[in-house]
């Protein structure tokens, strides 16, 4: 395991999100952490996964222990603390998503069942051990859909959204998504398998104060975006309701919800 020196850049508290980033997470439903994980480590993880005889499911962490270094990276921990609080925990459920050459895109879906809320209780932390271009089957997300409570079978007739975003990323990136965001893997038209490690992280305690790099003076300005910013095309009535749900999430994070 790589030695972590006791320097500020190795301390998660130096990597907490700003008010602007937390507000953007609330409006969009995802945050991209671009790490400085060495290329050699990304490549070693890619190679180890490639050599597995079968997908170990939840056992991927035991099969590829180098993954601890990804989720222990200070910038990843800083983002997780910001969104889930200091006492966040890694879930026992995780999965290595294998997107082989010549695959077809998944259908849009939300994970789990439809018992949604408007807090940040679980996030999907997606690590990519290789560069992901638009040809290599990037994960697709629809910003703002983490507030929508829709059974996946009601998404079966959607194909391409005007506002969909392809998570084209550099190797070593961890995309932190709200658990409820609509997402799908797209077709791998490239020449190598694309891996994505999806780890779940849970909040274990209710927020009593902001757990990010919060500045009450500027936060008020940033929070103004919750009531105005459009992140995608939707009806006016949906947008009004969306604004209210964003404020609920913000108040919860601030520790002010009842």
């Amino acid at each position: 395991m790589t030695e972590v020196k006791n320097e500020p850049e190795n301390n998660p508290s130096s990597h907490l999100l700003t008010d602007q980033e937390v507000v953007t997470f609330i409006t969009h439903g995802y945050h991209i952490v671009e790490t400085d994980i060495p290329e050699a480590l990304n490549q070693a993880i890619y190679d180890e996964i490639s050599q597995l005889k079968s997908n170990p499911g939840d056992g991927i962490l035991d099969a590829v222990p180098k993954l601890y270094q990804i989720y222990d990276h200070p910038s990843v921990k800083g983002a997780l603390i910001s969104l889930l609080g200091e006492s966040y925990q890694m879930s026992g459920h995780r999965h290595c998503h294998i997107n082989p050459v010549g695959s077809r895109s998944q259908s849009w879906h939300q994970d789990g069942v439809n018992q949604r809320h408007h807090q940040i209780r679980t996030v999907l932390a997606m690590y990519y051990p290789q560069d992901v271009s638009s040809d290599l089957g990037p994960t697709m997300v629809v910003p703002g859909t983490h507030f929508r409570n829709a059974p996946t079978d009601q998404m079966a007739t959607y194909t391409n959204f005007r506002d969909q975003v392809a998570l084209t990323v550099k190797a070593g990136t961890v995309a932190i998504n709200h658990y409820d965001i609509w997402h799908a893997a797209s077709r791998n038209k490239g020449d190598r398998t694309r891996y994505m490690l999806k780890f779940l992280f849970n909040r274990t305690s209710e927020p009593t104060k902001p757990s990010w790099n919060h500045d009450p003076k500027t936060a008020e300005i940033e929070a103004g975006r919750l009531g105005s910013e459009r992140v995608g095309i939707c009806s006016q009535s949906d947008h009004y309701k969306e604004r209210g749900l964003r404020r609920q999430m913000w108040q919860h994070l601030l520790g002010r919800s009842s």
């Binding site: 409570n149 391409n160 392809a166 084209t168 797209s186 995608g232």
Partner: protein
């Protein structure tokens, strides 16, 4: 009707006019016309448009094309930049016919949001020569 089929029929008409002028047509000429028409199949192309509201002039949120061709695939395209229609009305102007309108009396909740947009299904009937 596809252009190749139209061309074949026009060619057949030209030839039949000449035959009429030269003494008339035969059963074989009619068999030939039947063969030309049978070559083509009219099939249904489908276009799903999810619009921001039930109004056909509201903004397009999402689209999905389903081509009536064996092995055709409808899937997410990370590179998509071709959005020919800004509204259902634009698609109608291009010859698409709406075969299903969204139900305005959908479930309503004053706080929660669920599916994104209102679903219109449109068709184009086109001939295929295979």
């Amino acid at each position: 009707m596809s252009q190749p089929t139209k061309n074949q029929i026009y060619q057949w008409i030209t030839e039949v006019w000449q035959k009429i002028a030269n003494g008339g047509i035969s059963e074989a000429d009619l068999d030939q016309l039947t063969t030309i028409i049978k070559q083509q199949q009219v099939r249904q192309r489908l276009l799903y448009i999810h619009a921001a509201t039930p109004n056909i002039r509201s903004q397009v949120v999402a689209t999905g094309y389903h081509e009536p061709v064996k092995g055709s695939v409808t899937e997410i395209d990370p590179d998509i930049d071709d959005w020919p229609y800004r509204s259902v009305h634009d698609a109608i102007l291009d010859g698409w016919q709406v075969i299903q309108f969204p139900d305005q009396r959908t479930n309503f909740d004053d706080c929660e949001i669920d599916v994104l947009g209102y679903e219109f299904i449109l068709q184009k009937l086109e001939a295929y020569d295979d």
